[in-house]
């Protein structure tokens, strides 16, 4: 804990309000250049290599889905009682990843955590791609894909409406809203930066594309006024949305009667877990991008450290929820409930359970140490372990159902090749989309980063001379 004292001492020397969020004291122009350069420079070879790998994995996804549509979901390792299997595990995993982006862009905005400007664009993009990956799974799992429109309240020839009392239908609305709101939020944030790219565009095609996308933004304060209000409103409504989406996901399980699934803490517990895993994914990506594009001043240690602290907090919340579930399972006096939990910890899937506990509860506790939470190598490994752990959390919840009320139906769920192929494929799709984003859009919100630079404050005293000279 001595390091905590050190942090404190440092923080006291630089009061929170005056600390530098962006290190290296760049000028406005340097921010523009540093970020735009990534988009404008020639595509690096490494990008092609990575894109080649991830798009091959995407191809695997397409093949697996095509085969699935041809054969039906029998190609997966599903059977009653584990009727959802990896499809729902992956769905929950990917939707959860997205939550960090919304938390960073909305909740931290409302809390005036200005360090978020470094990572919000990046995290919002991640949200959108994660939600796209997530949405694949319920869509391909419906069986009769050609009548997938039944999930929407569209008048159809049967005269039947969707069942609004089903949590699976709530998912349709929750995910639809989540995807739309995330996309709008991201786009609104991009408008000023797209205008920057438009002004810097060197060829006509880029000029037209960025020009149309930026809607002819000219940065007038009369525009900014409404823009800021729209941004504030989006942040304010996206905040309860973060809570609601994963809560509704949790209800897919929790409204049932099944021991281990039906428990009232599921909604907040899922939300905490989602933010936890999402931050881990942002961390993994940020460390890679930082190394690849030399954005060390923007994705600086202060930002990374705070993300680690958020993982510590949410990881502890997840730990709290595990403890509550276990205690109440015993306290309920319900033998099925108790069996479900003992079976998780010591049954055939104990290996998965202990992976989950070590990755989700133990790993984040190392972030108490200042040394470890500012160590790039450690946090990179920890972020990957946390994502593994969070994937296994959903796996444990879903597959321990293989021992339910009816012992004659007990079995051991094993994913097939095609289950795994789709999981790998979804990672391929995620990274392909992310690489395209890095290539064509500014990965850091330039206008917001400029807004938190010291010289952006109209009461800023220093450096004025230099600016005036630059103009004339």
């Amino acid at each position: 804990m001595a390091d905590l004292a050190q942090t404190a001492t440092k923080a006291l020397k630089e009061p929170a309000h005056h600390e530098r969020l962006i290190t290296g004291e760049p000028s406005f122009e340097q921010v523009t250049n540093a970020v735009s350069r990534v988009v404008e420079s020639k595509t690096p070879k490494a990008w092609w290599v990575l894109f080649g790998i991830s798009s091959s994995a995407t191809l695997l996804l397409l093949v697996a889905i095509a085969y699935l549509f041809w054969e039906g979901i029998g190609i997966w390792g599903l059977n009653v009682p584990v009727a959802w299997g990896l499809a729902i595990v992956n769905l929950v995993f990917w939707i959860g990843i997205g939550h960090a982006g919304t938390l960073i862009s909305a909740v931290l905005f409302l809390l005036r955590q200005r360090w978020r400007t470094s990572i919000n664009r990046f995290a919002e993009a991640m949200t959108i791609f994660a939600v796209i990956c997530a949405l694949i799974f319920p869509a391909i799992h419906v069986g009769r894909i050609w009548v997938v429109y039944y999930i929407f309240p569209i008048p159809n020839q049967m005269g039947v409406w969707p069942n609004f009392r089903s949590p699976l239908l709530w998912d349709v609305f929750a995910f639809g809203t989540y995807f739309t709101v995330s996309l709008l939020f991201w786009y609104v944030g991009l408008i000023p930066d797209l205008a920057t790219l438009r002004e810097r565009a060197t060829n006509r095609i880029k000029k037209i594309v960025y020009g149309v996308l930026s809607l002819g933004w000219y940065g007038g304060n009369k525009q900014w006024k409404h823009y800021e209000m729209a941004y504030l409103i989006l942040a304010a409504i996206a905040t309860p949305l973060v809570l609601s989406v994963h809560s509704i996901v949790s209800m897919d399980f929790a409204v049932s009667l099944l021991p281990g699934w039906h428990t009232t803490i599921f909604p907040p517990y899922f939300v905490a877990g989602a933010i936890f895993s999402g931050f881990a994914m942002v961390m993994t990506l940020a460390i890679l991008a930082r190394a690849a594009f030399g954005l060390k001043d923007i994705f600086n240690m202060r930002v990374l450290e705070r993300m680690n602290l958020i993982m510590l907090v949410t990881g502890s919340m997840v730990g709290y929820a595990y403890a509550m579930e276990f205690f109440i399972a015993w306290y309920s006096g319900n033998e099925y409930e108790m069996f479900a939990f003992v079976n998780r910890a010591f049954g055939p899937y104990a290996w998965a359970y202990w992976i989950m506990i070590s990755c989700n509860v133990i790993v984040p506790q190392f972030f108490w140490s200042k040394k470890l939470r500012t160590n790039i190598a450690f946090m990179f490994i920890a972020s990957i372990l946390i994502n593994v752990g969070m994937w296994f959390e959903r796996f444990v919840i879903v597959v321990t159902l293989s021992r339910d009320y009816l012992p004659s139906a007990w079995g051991y769920y094993t994913p097939t090749f095609w289950d795994i192929a789709i999981l790998i494929g979804s990672f391929g799709l995620f990274f392909s989309l992310f690489l395209l984003f890095l290539r064509f859009l500014p990965m850091v919100a330039m206008s917001e980063v400029k807004g938190v630079l010291p010289q952006a404050d109209p009461h800023f005293a220093g450096n004025k001379q230099a600016h005036s000279q630059a103009v004339s």
Binding site: L12, P15, H262, T264, I265, P267, Y320, A321
Partner: protein
Amino acid sequence: MQSLKISLKVKEQILSKENMKLDRNTYKFTDKGNLGNIALVVGIVGLAASAVGYIQDSHQFYFSYLVAFFFWISVALGALFFNLLHHLTRASWSTAIRKLTESMMSVIPFMFVLIIPVLLGMHELYHWTHEDVVATDLVLQQKAPYLNIPFFIIRVVFYFAVWSILTFALIKNSARQDIKHEDSILARMRKYSAPGMMLFAFTLTFASFDWLMSLEPHWFSTIFGVYIFCGVFISMLAFTIIMVRYQNGQGAFDGIVTVEHRHTLGKLLFAFTIMWAYMGFSQYLLIWYANLPEETFWYLQRWEGSWRTLSIILPIAHFGLPFVALLPQAAKRNGNWLLMMAFYMLLMRYMDLYWIAMPTHSPEGINYSWMDISTMAGIGGIFIWLFWRKYTSGAAVPVNDPGLKVSMEYVN
């Protein structure tokens, strides 16, 4: 305290305020309104009246007492959480009100004395203490390793030990800081806060299981601790808003604790009103949907007779109305409006606790007793007296805290 060296500019700033009502040397706040003495009288009268009530109807007394006790310890525990959070997040905005919230949590050790009637009344309050009932009830036998009288008392002692140690640790360092600032003092407070927060989460959860959930020993809900936590924090925020307004009303603290601080407290109150509703609705929806008799009976109890009316009013009054009333920015910045909402939310907290605890006492319907009022006044009076005595006995602002200047200049 006379030897205080005025080394920081901020002190000059505090003292230069024309309306400054704090003592020039000790930074003590002298209350013109005599709140402490009034509270003490109310408290003694309330407790005396409740004692009479105890002779009349001990069952009623114990339930009224439990609700009142939990209501007031919520304020103190909320303040403990607030301070832990303040140190952990290195918040700067709340430094100016830190002494106020520290004084609230300073009551915790005294609350250990006030819980004794609950322990004495266990037999009347908690069904699972009846050996003859447990003998015929398999579920209660199963829970007996946890729900038994010795272990219950051990846990009470443990909770109060944890809370008191944390309180002492923070207050002691705060007092040391008043004499001379050293960076290590704040660092030490932060060091306590980290494990303190973890301990707080678990102790509050289990305290709420013990004191409230086990009133219906068959019922269980994993979210219950979090639900109660939201209520605890609301109580503390509402109480803080009232006290901040009270001292600002006397012209003290101008330029130190401002509308900006009240605005932020208002925002937190608004946010946690939503959180409370979220937790409450999650619990209700899942139990309603699954429709398992071992869980639904708790809500069905609250659907009996006049409890039904209260069950319908609660979400509207505790969430719907304050949501609308606190939504606009102007509402959080208007002093009188926010004050009114703070009083209102305290009333709502009382209503929620009443709704949780009392159906066990009078299952047939609401049976409001004068003892509900006398116990609230009794414990409340003592609580406010103790809190106020602590607050007015030392520096009312952490003058040596380097965060104070930032806090004074804080804008939303």
